[in-house]
């Protein structure tokens, strides 16, 4: 059963909670209260809805992919989050948290970013709302997402390279949390996904569920299948949540299989991980026998994360959502496929979800399938170009 909100301890079943240094706990408690009040406040909702309509361009279109539908023998619809301002769904969350930051009277914002989409969306919200913005980004991601790094700088943000660990998203989240432990009195942490300590997973879900709510409005009848990529899981949570538990709607989250599950180099936290505490919440994560966090691997920086939002862990165990995976190679193939067949360059994250649809096309034959096209692929063009030689 879907939960409207987590329990008193911030739990979705056994997952979630707040495992954070005591220094952060009062801020997390205050954030829960601020968010609860703001979310009930018509003026806050009105201001956010206005920005989503006129600044972000919501509702994003639902596009019927004719040519690809014929090719795959399914009825394929694309929820075009790639057409949202800044090129991904991330802006839904950053504008809302930006408004919340102002409401709390804080002037400085920190964020982590993997692919750079959340970093750009946060920098954008901060430029619009006159907030100081510092983005932590792994040095490996800085290298593979150079375009987004420059976009953040253009928007006035400071990008801080993170050299610890593998220099990817996990390390960027940790660095942002370390900053927050020191700066919590004056700074809000705009976390980019449905991860982290309570109330973040719940709050970010509430800010992203607009995707699924629009989809409901845009269709005469619910689709047979909704497919979305899952790293931390915010776009998937956003599109799934309004449909969770609905009869006849098959929800499929696609994790990164990297170089193949058997290689051990992947980001399939639900498929291959085990329960543990990562970045403040109990969830499925990649860890060794002693509980040390393992590095994930994915060609997609946004899926290169060894954990997943705790509500996804709950959905998995409750059988409400099915979690599958696609490899780097399959994602790159799907990237080309969508470019050629529909004239759309998808983010490599979204390409994972399409890759799964392509693999399963014969099983999905004749069914209506919605792909949450979470972001556009401009940021990935250089990386794909390198692969293609």
């Amino acid at each position: 059963m879907r939960l409207e909100r987590p329990d008193q301890r911030g739990r979705f079943g056994e997952f979630g909670g707040a495992f954070a240094p005591e220094t952060l706990m009062p801020a997390l408690e205050a954030l829960e209260i601020e968010f609860t009040n703001a979310w009930r406040d018509d003026s806050f909702r009105g201001e956010l809805d206005g920005l989503l309509a006129t600044y972000v361009g919501r509702p994003t279109p639902l596009y019927h992919a004719d040519r690809l539908s014929k090719q795959l023998g399914i009825n394929l619809l694309l929820k075009r989050e790639d057409l949202a301002h800044t090129g991904a769904h991330k802006i839904n969350n950053t504008l809302a948290q930006g408004l919340l930051t102002k409401r709390m009277g804080k002037k400085r914002v920190i964020a982590e970013t993997g692919a750079g989409q959340h970093g750009v969306a946060t920098a954008t919200a901060c430029a619009l709302l006159e907030l100081e913005c510092v983005v932590y980004m792994g040095e490996k991601d800085i290298e593979r997402q150079a375009l987004n790094v420059y976009r953040m700088k253009l928007l006035g943000a400071t990008v801080v390279p993170v050299t610890s660990g593998a220099g990817t998203l996990k390390d960027a989240v940790s660095a942002a949390l370390r900053d927050w432990v020191a700066s919590v009195a004056t700074t809000h942490y705009i976390i980019g996904s449905v991860v982290g300590p309570h109330p973040f997973p719940w709050m970010v879900r509430e800010f992203q569920k607009v995707i699924g709510e629009e989809l409901k409005e845009q269709m005469d009848a619910p689709p047979d299948v909704i497919v979305a990529p899952v790293g931390g899981g915010s776009n998937a949570m956003g599109v799934f949540y309004p449909f969770v538990g609905m009869d006849g709607v098959d929800l499929v989250g696609v994790e990164a299989a990297g170089l193949g599950i058997a290689s051990g180099l992947h980001g399939a936290s639900i498929g291959e991980g085990s329960p543990g505490v990562l970045h403040g919440s109990m969830t499925y994560m990649l860890q060794d026998e002693f509980g040390q966090v393992l590095e994930a691997h994915s060609i997609s920086a946004g899926l290169d994360y060894p954990g997943v939002g705790p509500e996804h862990a709950y959905f998995n165990d409750a059988g409400l959502v099915r979690y599958v995976n696609a490899t780097d190679a399959q994602a790159v193939e799907a990237f080309h496929l969508l470019a050629r067949s529909e004239g759309i360059l998808p983010a490599l994250e979204s390409a994972h979800a399409l890759a799964w649809i392509v693999q399963e096309a014969s099983q999905l034959s004749g069914r209506t399938v919605v792909l949450n096209l979470s972001g556009r692929g401009d940021k990935d063009v250089q990386q794909v170009a390198r692969l293609d030689g």
């Binding site: 240094p21 610890s164 009195a185 403040g280 040390q292």
Partner: protein
């Protein structure tokens, strides 16, 4: 019999912890608890460093289990943890360091970890391991009072002490829940922020100690941002114990040889020990 012998002779971790804090009461000074990550620079050399610090006047120790994602730690302790993990210092290896330090120094040892290695091992099993190693207490950096109940119960079961945290940000209501959970000692976070050296002495320790003592007689150990004898003295005026971490770890990481590290720590720990009197 002197209090130091009481620590050595005590049977359980909780007894060792009580004996440790009785030093503070009886001698009108705070106890000095240097922190070092287990296995830095090597397993054998780290045990020797703890012995040298005991000889230089440390009353007990905080031994860090290396962790891959230490959210409460600054760059120095992070680097030590990465180095130790690369050298194969797993949780069992780190607990073997704890056992050797207890055996060779007779001092009270507090084990510092993050929550996930404890969960992975199983809470009860982990605390059993800690008790077997002879540790006096456990500090879990990312465990707030809200999630602490099963950990406190497991610690109690094997008579090992358990800390809960109070920071300058902690509200009166949260302090009440900390006290009512009955920790064996309170870890007072002297500075808002992660572990690491600071230039100024903490201005928070007096008020923190006062708010805790108004509600309980539980021993208070101050840590985070205490890196010089002057800062340690300021904390010693208000706390029962003082933890110095990054300043110790940095000296070990910076030393050219284990011998150089030992000499450097002997001098530094003696200076810190002299700063413990009130």
């Amino acid at each position: 019999m002197s209090n130091r012998w009481l620590v050595l002779m005590a049977n359980s971790g909780s007894d060792r912890l009580r004996a440790l804090f009785s030093i503070s009461r009886d001698e009108d000074r705070a106890v000095l608890l240097p922190y070092l990550t287990a296995g830095i620079p090597t397993v054998d050399a780290s045990v020797e460093l703890f012995v040298a610090m005991a000889d230089a006047g440390a009353d007990g120790f905080e031994v860090g289990i290396p962790y891959a994602d230490p959210l409460m730690d600054g760059p120095v302790i992070m680097r030590a943890g990465e180095q130790a993990l690369d050298a194969g210092v797993t949780v069992p290896v780190a607990l073997e360091v704890v056992r050797r330090v207890v055996d060779e120094t007779g001092k009270a040892v507090l084990v510092m970890t993050y929550v996930n290695p404890v969960l992975r091992r199983g809470i009860d099993t982990f605390f059993g391991d800690v008790a077997t190693a002879g540790a006096a207490g456990v500090i879990i950096a990312d465990l707030p009072v809200d999630e602490a109940e099963p950990f406190l119960a497991a610690a109690h079961e094997v008579a090992v002490g358990m800390a809960l945290f109070v920071s300058p940000m902690t509200s009166a209501a949260r302090l009440d829940s900390v006290i009512s959970c009955g920790p064996d000692f309170v870890y007072g976070i002297a500075e808002v922020g992660v572990t690491g050296e600071r230039t100024e002495a903490s201005s928070n320790v007096g008020a923190l100690a006062e708010s805790i003592r108004a509600k309980s007689e539980v021993p208070i150990v101050f840590g985070v941002g205490i890196s010089t004898p002057v800062q340690a003295h300021a904390a010693a005026l208000h706390g029962d114990g003082v933890i110095v971490g990054s300043a110790i770890v940095r000296r070990v990481l910076d030393a050219a040889t284990p011998d150089a590290a030992r000499e450097s720590l002997s001098v530094f720990v003696a200076e810190l020990a002299a700063a413990m009197s009130r």
